[in-house]
């Protein structure tokens, strides 16, 4: 029946002869699926944007810093200030097996404060970090020129610096090769060995690239930090939960610094895994909402089709009666009406799908071409699976939409159908 050329010709001629009706019906479905596609595209755009913002850190990274103790312990009063020290580094390495990368860090100055770096009459306010090479596996910055800090730099406390792309822009003339040049940080000269960029955009990009990395040991030495460690950044090994590693490291640090085992407020912490999961949960919600709204819109379209088909069947009662008098079996009538509905919804739906995808691609193209970088929106696209699912839902609901009117068409007695006055 479905692949019989004659029934298709029958359907095409019926649809063609009733153009306005077919068009009106088709538009409801077209709009439904078009909106669904646009919403899905926007949703992924949003998701890409936010994951991009998160992409400056490994998703399994953990940060732990010091705060005031909140409980008296081992003779020490509450409210005590303390510091992490170099000895903690070795102890964590030796005792906590789940840690993949460990980066003790120190920081000087901050974003948008007073100038602290100068070079040949140019000056800027940058964040200066003392770091281990391991930080590269946690922060995921891209080296665009030269190299990052290595272990030899640390061992020999070399005065070298890796600068962000914005630091380069402020301190150097355009086209200048920064490698091997010297910059002055708080009066101490450092040789530039590398430049890096970030994946993020907007304010985040500015903040990320107004940063200078120098060897951790050099930092302590040059700026009189002794053996102080500002905070720890680390990632958990694959298969180990970042949250568990965090707990273990905190317990160890508590022992080292005479902090009550249950004094959680003595530490500040940030766990990318938890943050990441939270945001993924939000996105799951957003996506569910998009599908719900989209499918509802689609359903409204399909119900519209069913409604119109009901009217159509009513309008065509007599024609159907004549066909039955001439020998059309109920099956053939039902088949014809259902095929009409399905082809109408499928064609209209496919057109909507195409228009939606084209719309999303066009906006994506212009965003890329115009270099528009929005902070939480990037690269909208519709994935093929979603489109296929939508199309399937459409065809099935088209069939269901056709079922009711089709049955109504054959439930009337043939005699009555022929006699119906329109």
């Amino acid at each position: 029946m479905i692949f019989d050329q004659d029934s298709w010709q029958e359907i095409i001629s019926t649809l063609k002869k009733n153009k306005l009706r077919s068009l009106m019906t088709a538009f409801g479905v077209f709009w439904g699926i078009f909106m669904l596609m646009v919403m899905l595209g926007t949703g992924t755009g949003l998701e890409h944007g936010v994951t991009q913002e998160l992409s400056d850190r490994a998703t399994n990274s953990v940060y732990i810093w010091t705060r005031k103790t909140s409980k008296p312990y081992q003779g020490f009063p509450r409210g005590r200030h303390y510091h992490f020290v170099n000895e903690d580094i070795e102890k964590i390495r030796r005792n906590i097996p789940g840690v993949e990368h460990l980066a003790p860090r120190n920081k000087l100055g901050s974003y948008r404060t007073t100038n602290n770096v100068v070079r040949k009459g140019k000056a800027g306010a940058f964040s200066i970090y003392g770091d281990y090479p391991a930080i590269q596996s946690i922060l995921l910055q891209k080296i665009t020129k030269g190299r990052f800090i290595n272990h030899l730099d640390l061992q020999e406390k070399r005065k070298v610096a890796v600068i962000g792309s914005r630091v380069y822009k402020i301190l150097f003339e355009k086209g200048d090769d920064p490698l091997g040049k010297y910059i002055q940080i708080r009066g101490v000269f450092f040789k530039v060995i590398g430049v890096f960029a970030t994946n993020r955009s907007g304010d985040d990009e500015e903040e990320d690239t107004q940063t200078i990395f120098i060897p951790f040991t050099t930092f302590q030495h040059a700026f009189n930090y002794g053996n102080k460690v500002g905070w720890f950044a680390m990632t958990s090994e694959k298969g180990t939960s970042a949250a568990i590693v965090e707990e273990k490291v905190m317990a160890l640090l508590a022992r080292n610094h005479h902090i009550a085992p249950d004094d959680k407020r003595a530490f500040g912490r940030w766990n990318a895994e938890i943050e990441h999961n939270k945001i993924m949960d939000v996105f799951f919600g957003v996506e569910a909402l998009i599908w719900f709204v989209g499918i509802s819109t689609l359903l409204a379209g399909v119900i519209g089709v069913s409604n119109i088909m009901l009217i159509v069947v009513k309008e065509r009662t007599r024609e159907i009666g004549i066909r039955r008098a001439l020998g059309a079996a109920p099956r053939s009538i039902i088949g014809q009406i259902m095929l009409e509905t399905i082809s109408l919804t499928s064609i209209a739906g496919y057109a909507g799908l195409l228009a939606g995808v084209v719309m999303v691609e066009i906006s994506s193209y212009f965003m890329a071409k115009g270099g528009i970088k929005m902070e939480l929106f990037r690269n909208p696209e519709v994935d093929l699976n979603a489109a296929t699912i939508a199309l399937l839902v459409l065809i099935i609901s088209g069939a269901i939409a056709g079922l009711i009117p089709a049955h109504q068409a054959v439930n009337i007695k043939t005699v009555d159908a022929i006699r119906t006055e329109i």
Partner: protein, 222 residues
Amino acid sequence: MIRIQNLNKSYVVGNTEMHVLKNLEVHIQAGELVSIMGSSGSGKSTLLNIIGILDSYDAGEYYLDNVLIKNLNESKAARLRNQLIGFVFQSFNLISFKNAMENVALPLYYQKVSRKERNKRALAYLDKLGLLEWAEHMPNELSGGQQQRVAIARAMVSEPKIILADEPTGALDSKTSHDVISLFREIHQTGITVIIVTHESDIAERTKRVIQIRDGAIIADV
């Protein structure tokens, strides 16, 4: 060809039951030209619908071509109609968005005849009825007489054993009516059984046999 024995049919309208056909006995041989006459409400149309398997009946028996027609499901009834019966209606009942040829070819579509063959046969019948040059016209571009001739061509295209005509001249002027009846007489000459329901006596006079019905019973059969 048609054997009706003790046929009864009633409709329920509101609370009252209307006994439309009462113990009807009708026998029609193959190749007869018969008219069924009666005023409106006499039950003649109901009888025609039962003969045409468009309607069911309550009691009695109806044999069409020696097949008992009773409690058939709609698919089977449709097949029998398609194979055995050609219908001609008072209001022509052409499908408005199909041209003359497509209308004539429609019964063959339900016989699963190929499109090319359908159209060929449809054109042959239109030619026979002198409508070949109107084949591509839509029904609303044709006169009443032309429309009824298209309808007759459609009834004949499937080469049925019986042609049932329900007031075929009811919507036509007397000149055209005359032509249409002549056409039925010609069809009858080819050996097809023709049954015409009418309330006009001058139409009935031109058939070989007239069955008169009043209040659901046969009052004359000559």
